[in-house]
C-alpha cells in the first residue's frame, strides 16, 4: 500500500493545505522554525510583497504563503507556525508536522537563531526524522558575530548530514545562497542524508518490534522508524492525519496494534511507563543536540549576553520596570500628539483646498446641487476628515510601536505584567495580545491565537477592546487637546499626553478586572501553564521598520477606514439632510437617545455618533461635529479653538469630555473587530458577550462618574 500520486500531488496540496499552485512545475518549500528566530523576516525577505495570509483549513492557526522566482522557477513558500518541537503538543505543532509529513514539500527550510543554536537544534533533529529534504538556515548571523559566537557551518552540515546556510535576513545576506541550495535540494541535485537521533538500546528494541510492519505499509515514502516510535508513544493525532491524508487507516490494523502492544510490554518489562518513554525520547534528542552544539559552536566571549542582562536589569527591575514602561508608552503618545499636529493641519488644508476646486468643477459641469452635496459635502468631507485626522498619528505611532516590537521590548512588557494577569486568572501572553490591541483591536483578537487554552483565549478576546485602538486614539487625543490641554496653558501637550495616558492605564486596569470577573463567572478556571521567552534584544533596522509599518499597518488600517468611511459619510449626510416634520432624521434619533445619554454624562448626538461609528471608531468625532453643525455637513477643521467653541455652544462641560473619553474607551468593538471575533470564536454567543461586556462597563462607569460629579456639585 504505497502512496499514490493522487494522494500526494498538487491536488492534495490545494485541497488539504490550501496551497495554490499556478503550474505543476511550481516548487513548494516549507519554512519551519522556533518562534523568535527571525523566521518571518526570512519569509518577508524572500517573498517581498508577494504574500497572502489565511487560516489552515479548519484551524485557527494562521497560514502565510508567498512566492518568489529564482532562476526562472517559481517557488511557493509556506510559512509554518513557529514551534519548539513537533511532538504535537499543540495545534500549531500538529499543523506544522502534518504539512512537512503529508504536504510533501519539495524542501523544508528550518530557520534557527545563531545566538541560540542548541535549543533550535531540537526542532531541526525532529524535522530531519520526518523528511530528508531539509535545509538548515542559521539566521541572525550578524547578531552572532556581534556577540562573538563562532559557528562552524561546514562542520555542522557534516554532522547533521544536511545543507546548512548562514544568513542575516534583515540585511538580505546569505539569501541568494539559501535560494541556490533550496533549488538543488528540490531538484534532487543534492540529496541530504540526515543523521538520525540514536535512541537508547531499550527504545531501539521496542522500535524494531513495530518498524518492519510500518515499512510494509508506507513503503519508502515516510521514515518508518519515526512512525513506529510515534505510535508506540501513543501519538493518536498522527494516526488521524495518516487516515486523512494518506487513506492509511492504521487504527483498524490488528497486526499493527498487536505489534505496538508487544513493544509497550517490552518497555514495561524494563520498567518504562508511557510518561518515561516520552522523557527518554526527548532526552535522546536533547542530548544529540547538545553534543552537536558543543562541536560546532565556539563562544569567544562567555559574557556575550552581559549587555542584554544589564539592560534587562533596568527595564524589568522591581523599582523601575513598570515606571519605565509607562514612561515609554507616554513618550510614544507624546511624540504622536506633538508630531501630528502640524501635518494634520497641512493635510486638512490641502484636502479642503482640493474640495474647493472640486466644487468649482461640479459647477462647471452643471451638475444638480444634490449630487454635489452628497459627493462632496457627504462623502469627500468625511474622507478628508478621516485621512487628515488619522494618517499623521498612525504614520508616527506605528513605526514607533514597531520599533519597540523589533527591539524585543514587548516580551519584557509581558514579563513585567504577568503577575497581574496571573492574579486575574488570565494567560501571561494576554499582555502581548493587549499590546497588539493598541494598534488595532481586530489584529489583537487575531493575535489571541498564541494562547493555547480556549478559556484564556476567550478572556483575551473579550477584553481586548478595553485598550484603545488606533481608531480611538484620535478621539481621545482630540478631546484631551481641546478640553484638558486648553486648561493647562503652557503645558498643554504635556497635559493632553497625561490624560491620554491615564485613560490607557485605566483601560489596562479594566482589562485585568474584567478578566478576573470573567474567570470567576462565565469562564471559570485556573490559569494554565505559561512559558515566555525573553529573546535577546536586537538592533532594529530603521529602514525596514518604516517600510513595514507604513505598508503593513498604516496603509492597511487607513484603507479599511476609508472603505468604511465613504459609505458611512453618505448615510450620515442623508440622515442629517432628510427631514421629517422640519427636523432631520439624525436629530430625531438624537432626541430619542438624549434622556438616556444625559444620565451617563453624554448627549443624544454623542450617543448617535458612537452608534453610527460602529463601522469604524475613527469617524465618531467627524459625525459628532457634523451633527452639531446646523448646515448638516462636516465643518472644515480650521482650528481646535473653533471646535471647542462649537462643543461649548452645544452644552459641553469638562464632564462631557471626560465621559466621552470613558465611553470611547469602553463601548462596543468596531464592526471589523466584531466580525473578526465571530470568525475566531466561531460563535455568535461569544461575539455578543464581547459586544456587551465593554458596553455595559462603559455605561456603568460613565453613569457613576456623571452622577457622582453632579451630586458633588462639581459641574
Amino acid at each position: 500500500m504505497g502512496l499514490t500520486k493522487q494522494s500526494t500531488g498538487a491536488g492534495a496540496l490545494k485541497e488539504m493545505f490550501e496551497v495554490e499552485l499556478e503550474s505543476p512545475d511550481d516548487i513548494v518549500v516549507a519554512l519551519a522554525g522556533n518562534p523568535n528566530t527571525g523566521k518571518s523576516t526570512v519569509f518577508n525577505s524572500l517573498t517581498g510583497l508577494n504574500q497572502h495570509t489565511g487560516n489552515w483549513p479548519g484551524k485557527t492557526v494562521s497560514n502565510a504563503q508567498g512566492n518568489f522566482t529564482h532562476r526562472n522557477k517559481k517557488y511557493i513558500l509556506v510559512d509554518l507556525p513557529g514551534t519548539y518541537s513537533l511532538l504535537a503538543n499543540s495545534v500549531e505543532e500538529q499543523v506544522a508536522r502534518d504539512f512537512i509529513c503529508f504536504g510533501n514539500p519539495h524542501a523544508t527550510v528550518v530557520v534557527t537563531d545563531a545566538t541560540c543554536i542548541e535549543r533550535n537544534l531540537n526542532l531541526v533533529l525532529q524535522i530531519m526524522e520526518i523528511t530528508n529534504k531539509v535545509i538548515v538556515c542559521i539566521n541572525l548571523m550578524d547578531e552572532a558575530k556581534r556577540k562573538k559566537i563562532n559557528i562552524d557551518i561546514n562542520k555542522l552540515s557534516n554532522l547533521l548530514g544536511v545543507p546548512v546556510v548562514g544568513t542575516s535576513a534583515r540585511s538580505g545576506e546569505g539569501l541568494d545562497e539559501l535560494k541556490d541550495i533550496v533549488e538543488k535540494v528540490a531538484s534532487g541535485e543534492i540529496i541530504p542524508t540526515p543523521t538520525y537521533v540514536s535512541y537508547d538500546e531499550i527504545l531501539e528494541k521496542a522500535i524494531k518490534e513495530v518498524e518492519p510492519h510500518i515499512h510494509y505499509l508506507v513503503d519508502n515514502q515516510m521514515n518508518s522508524k519515526w512512525i513506529a516510535l510515534r505510535l508506540i508513544d501513543g501519538d493518536s493525532p498522527l494516526l488521524e492525519s495518516m487516515a486523512n491524508y494518506l487513506n492509511i487507516n492504521l487504527s483498524q490494523d490488528d497486526l499493527l496494534e498487536n505489534r505496538i502492544d508487544l513493544a509497550r510490554i517490552k518497555l514495561e518489562e524494563e520498567n518504562i511507563e508511557i510518561e518515561d518513554l516520552r522523557d527518554r525520547i526527548v532526552l535522546s534528542i536533547v542530548k544529540t543536540a547538545e553534543s552537536i552544539y558543543k562541536k560546532v559552536v565556539y563562544v569567544e566571549n562567555k559574557a556575550y549576553n552581559h549587555l542584554d542582562r544589564k539592560v534587562d536589569n533596568v527595564l524589568t527591575s522591581k523599582l523601575f520596570g513598570i515606571p519605565i514602561m509607562i514612561a515609554l508608552l507616554g513618550l510614544v503618545f507624546w511624540l504622536t500628539i506633538e508630531g501630528s499636529n502640524v501635518p494634520s493641519a497641512m493635510l486638512a488644508e490641502g484636502l479642503f483646498w482640493i474640495e474647493g476646486h472640486l466644487t468649482v468643477f461640479f459647477q462647471w459641469l452643471g451638475s444638480p446641487t444634490w449630487i454635489h452635496d452628497i459627493l462632496i459635502l457627504g462623502i469627500y468631507r468625511t474622507l478628508a476628515w478621516v485621512v487628515s485626522v488619522m494618517l499623521p498619528p498612525m504614520a508616527i505611532f506605528f513605526p514607533l510601536f514597531t520599533f519597540l516590537e523589533d527591539l524585543g521590548y514587548l516580551p519584557r512588557v509581558a514579563f513585567n505584567l504577568d503577575h497581574y494577569f496571573k492574579k486575574a486568572c488570565a494567560h501571561g501572553k494576554q499582555a502581548l495580545t493587549m499590546c497588539m490591541g493598541f494598534g488595532c483591536n481586530a489584529a489583537g483578537v487575531i493575535a489571541c491565537r498564541i494562547i493555547d487554552s480556549p478559556r484564556e483565549r476567550l478572556i483575551a478576546i473579550i477584553t481586548n477592546n478595553f485598550v484603545p485602538c488606533n481608531g480611538r486614539f484620535p478621539t481621545l487625543i482630540a478631546l484631551a487637546s481641546i478640553f484638558i490641554a486648553s486648561a493647562a496653558g503652557a503645558f498643554s501637550s504635556f497635559a493632553a499626553t497625561l490624560s491620554v495616558l491615564i485613560t490607557i492605564i485605566l483601560g489596562v486596569i479594566l482589562t485585568l478586572f474584567i478578566s478576573k470577573l470573567l474567570s470567576k463567572t462565565i469562564l471559570k478556571g485556573l490559569p494554565s501553564s505559561f512559558t515566555l521567552e525573553l529573546p535577546p534584544y536586537r538592533k532594529p533596522q530603521v529602514g525596514r521598520i518604516i517600510v513595514r509599518s507604513i505598508f503593513d499597518r498604516t496603509l492597511f488600517v487607513l484603507g479599511r477606514a476609508i472603505a468604511i468611511a465613504a459609505p458611512a459619510g453618505l448615510v450620515i449626510w442623508l440622515m442629517a439632510n432628510i427631514t421629517i416634520a422640519d427636523t432631520s432624521i439624525l436629530t430625531h434619533c438624537a432626541q430619542f437617545l438624549n434622556p438616556f445619554a444625559q444620565l451617563i454624562g453624554l448627549d443624544g448626538y454623542i450617543m448617535m455618533a458612537f452608534i453610527l461609528g460602529l463601522p469604524a471608531n475613527e469617524i465618531v468625532i467627524p459625525i459628532l461635529v457634523m451633527s452639531y453643525m446646523s448646515k448638516g455637513s462636516m465643518l472644515e477643521l480650521d482650528s481646535l479653538t473653533e471646535m471647542r467653541q462649537l462643543l461649548i455652544d452645544n452644552g459641553w462641560t469638562w464632564l462631557t469630555a471626560v465621559c466621552m473619553m470613558l465611553f470611547s474607551l469602553n463601548h462596543w468593538p468596531c464592526g471589523t473587530t466584531l466580525w473578526t471575533i465571530r470568525k475566531e470564536t466561531q460563535s455568535w454567543k461569544w461575539t455578543w458577550v464581547s459586544f456587551l461586556v465593554p458596553t455595559v462597563t462603559g455605561i456603568v462607569l460613565c453613569f457613576v462618574v456623571a452622577q457622582g460629579a453632579r451630586l458633588l456639585g462639581l459641574v
Binding site: Y84, S85, L87, N89, T115, C116, I117, E118, R119, N122, E275, R278, D279, V282, L283, V286, K287, A289, E290, D308, R309, D312, N313, T316, S317, K318, G321, I322, F415, N416, D418, H419, Y420, K422, G428, P527, S529, F530, T531, L532, E533, L534, P535, P536
Partner: protein
C-alpha cells in the same frame, strides 16, 4: 525527597541549579522537555519580574520566564 533538591522557584537569583526531577505531568511536562529541561541540565536563575513572579531563567542559551506554579514543579540541585 532528597534533601539537596529544591524547587526551581526557590533557587536564589544569580545562582545555578541542575535539573534532577520534573514533577509536572502531561502537556506541562512535555513543554518543559521541549525547552530542554532534562536531567542534569544547568539552569541559571536570572531575575525576578517587578512583582517577584514570574522569574526569568537561562535555559540552554535562551532566557525563559516561568511562573512559580511551573517552576515549583522542577526540582533542582544547587550547584
Amino acid at each position: 525527597m532528597n534533601k539537596n533538591l529544591m524547587p526551581l522557584d526557590k533557587l536564589p537569583i544569580g545562582s545555578f541549579g541542575k535539573v534532577k526531577k520534573l514533577i509536572a505531568e502531561g502537556v506541562a511536562r512535555r513543554r518543559m522537555l521541549d525547552l530542554g529541561l532534562i536531567y542534569d541540565t544547568t539552569v541559571e536563575s536570572l531575575r525576578e519580574s517587578p512583582a517577584g513572579d514570574p522569574i526569568a531563567y537561562e535555559i540552554r542559551g535562551a532566557v525563559i520566564a516561568l511562573r512559580s506554579e511551573e517552576a515549583s514543579k522542577i526540582l533542582v540541585e544547587l550547584v
